[in-house]
Symmetry: C2
């Protein structure tokens, strides 16, 4: 079995959401698994000394427009969240706490989080929102509540790994030592996998 | 005749070079002309308050690798220039001075400049390099020498236009009020033109 595709992302990243709807089919084409790795992009940026792109108003305006247009281009349902810069750490902790014993359930939860934030205008920084999403993904209420605390060291390790792996943005895909940043690099990732 | 595609770029941008090999065929598909607009990206960045992406070492490493891999992906000849951050103002001035009377010759010159920098490892910041490139594009030696001075206000105007047009990087394509940044947005530009 060849190595999986490591999929680094932040739950608050629209481009990660777009890529999340494509990466599994792409990986499957080449007999690869996907290793979902939510991280805190601000922490990765801070470690590398990268200024958040949305901090510059001209670029922010461009990106907000490009996000909506890209969703349309990809044919993916999307509504720009009222507030994009939200804290995604509780969602990521819950993901990792679940993934230890039930990786498939954790991925189902991740997909629910993306849909909640980018389609249903839910505030995924709130623990009660996350508890409801966890329940709909089949995660026990007590385990979900605990997970938002217990997942903390796991998330910290994932952020440290992302920094070591030189992640430069969300999404970043790493496979066989090659790093691909951006939903727009999916065609190039496919091309690369086809050559292996 | 529909409006042309405004193609903003910096002669020192690899992604602009990649896009330059594709944009004319794409425009022609939809009956559009291409309006080539070399600018000084550092001046546009400074006006907008955008930090140059290559200033951050982790991102610089990623981009240098991505540039070479992207050339391979696109099937375009490419050798990473020994020094990427060169001054492109003389090339851009000569382009605009030529474009006033002979737009086709100016575009031929622009293509020669890209090939010289990104394939032949020539230093396109040097006036004698540019004079030789101008000659090979059919530009009179005297006109070329003059153009490197006479083109100054034309380049200044182009940079001012790029700032007004909210260019966020190189290449940026603007058509019918829509702005597309990056060689990786060419498929989305095609999709957009197909809907017009």
């Amino acid at each position: 079995m060849p190595d999986p595709i490591r999929f680094y992302f932040d739950f608050a990243s629209p481009y990660a959401y777009f890529a999340s709807t494509r990466i599994e089919a792409l990986a499957q084409e080449f007999g690869r698994a996907v290793d979902w790795r939510p991280v805190l992009l601000w922490a990765v940026f801070r470690a590398h000394g990268i200024a958040p792109p949305m901090d510059v108003s001209v670029r922010r305006d461009y990106l907000l427009h490009d996000m909506a247009r890209s969703a349309d281009y990809f044919g993916i349902p999307y509504r720009t969240p009222a507030k994009l810069a939200i804290s995604s750490h509780l969602a990521a902790r819950l993901y990792y706490a679940t993934a230890q014993a039930e990786p498939d359930t954790a991925v189902a939860f991740a997909k629910r989080v993306f849909a909640a934030f980018f389609v249903e205008q839910q505030d995924i920084s709130q623990s009660d929102t996350l508890l409801a999403l966890a329940a709909s993904a089949g995660i026990d209420a007590e385990a979900a509540t605990e997970g938002m605390t217990a997942g903390r060291p796991l998330l910290e390790q994932a952020v440290a790994d992302a920094i070591t792996d030189k992640v430069v943005g969300s999404p970043t895909f790493i496979v066989d030592g090659e790093s691909f940043f951006g939903a727009d690099r999916l065609p190039q990732l496919r091309w690369f996998l086809g050559k292996r």
